[in-house]
Amino acid sequence: MFEAIAFYLFAILTISMFSIAVLTSQALYALTALAAGMIFISAFFFILGADFLGAVQIIVYTGAVLALYAFGMMFFDTTRDVVEKRTSPMLVFGMGGMAALLIVLIFAAPIVSDNITALYPVQEGVGNAQAVGMVLFTKYLVPFEVAAVMLLVAMIGGIILAGKKMDTSLTLLDEDKSPLSVETNEKAAS
């Protein structure tokens, strides 16, 4: 009974949070609802007994959505509504509907044809984290390593793109030598 109550409670909460994230025009509401929805999803993992995935869901998405907050802080005044430029609402509606339908079809295809079977049944006496580790480092070793290499590539790319002039500290530069003041000086001269 408790599981049913918890499931329906968190189902309603998750759906309403993601609805707010999609429907609102306030950047702060959208981000907060997104973070809350992501954290509420972890409840389903806990209900299913997948404690490890639940904790990982919380850890990963608090960090990920926090990065979005940082962008929101930079690009918007988050206390005001964002005025969107809608050129043709019908096109957006149609494209959005098509994309949603396509995603549902992609995910539903293997379920409909019954192609998903549990190849690695749950082992008795093995904890949650250990079970995940066993599958990750036997059957899914190659995808796991490929994903790791991709993350490494992304990290190195990020460092190279953002790392110009990283060896000089902007705080320690003299006032007239800093790149910011050079620009203003040039503007003043021209």
């Binding site: 702060l28 490890f52 904790a55 907050y69 988050t78």
Partner: protein, 329 residues
Amino acid sequence: MDTAYFIETIIKIVVLLLVFSALAGFGTYFERKVLAFMQRRLGPMHVGPYGLLQIAADGIKLFTKEDIVPQNVVGPIFKIAPVITAATAFMAAAAIPFMPSFTIFGYEVHPIISDINVGILYILGVMAIGLYGPLLGGMASANKWSLISAARAASVFISYEVVSGLSLLAPIMMVGSLSLIDFNNYQTGGVGSWMIWSQPVAFILFLIAAFAETGRTPFHLIANDHEIIDGFGTEYSGMRWGLFFIGEYANMFFISFVIALIFLGGFGDGSVGGALALLGKVSFIFFFFLWTRAAWPDVRPDQLMWLCWKVLMPIAVINIVITGIVIMF
């Protein structure tokens, strides 16, 4: 799921809430007294003997003060932000074993609300959500100081998470479990078997990360009174401001429990002496938080990021590699 278990859990949750909300109040008193002692002052003295009733006076003030929601703030977010900080601190405590299990009226009580087998991951994850309080409060406040504080909260978050996670990985590899009870049982062989002797580097790294996580003084940059007024708390008044503080002090107590359980032997073999020793360890770590506040200056946000990413993270990774090599051979 029988009724006895249900009632027991409810009682445990209520006791935990009451005890640690009260302790958060006492924490402010201890902090003022310890700081006063270290700065050769007297601290609160006027209300009651040695100022002990100061907590009650502060409580009355916080509860009865007018709750002001200023103009131009984003109302719902502004109101929910302090609740996030306080609530997540107590949610994290669900996986902490506060004492060894004991028998009362023939009924065995386990003083842990839920012994999930990924305890440490859960505690770290949920405690991390607590930083959403300062972030949301700062962003919703329509105040430039608060916005700076929110930006600093984001930078603190991306800095310390890596260090706390990586530094705990080496002890987790040695114990082979993520449950805090297993950590405690690993160290039952007296002082010599404490994790701090086999993992001193991880202990220091996790202690530093704990300071950043709770926002205590070397890393108090989110709410630096002398630079950005009170940061995210500038626009808050009354009990909403008080909730931020209950969350902060409860977090300090809970992280002290976690440090004591992981590195300092926890409650040992589960006797009464072990339970008292755990309380002693927790009190010392709490005192250490206050001691550091009296002795150290604050660092800048960029210094914190430099420290976490360029110094502590490589040390943590090297520690993991060495631990792995030692375990393997």
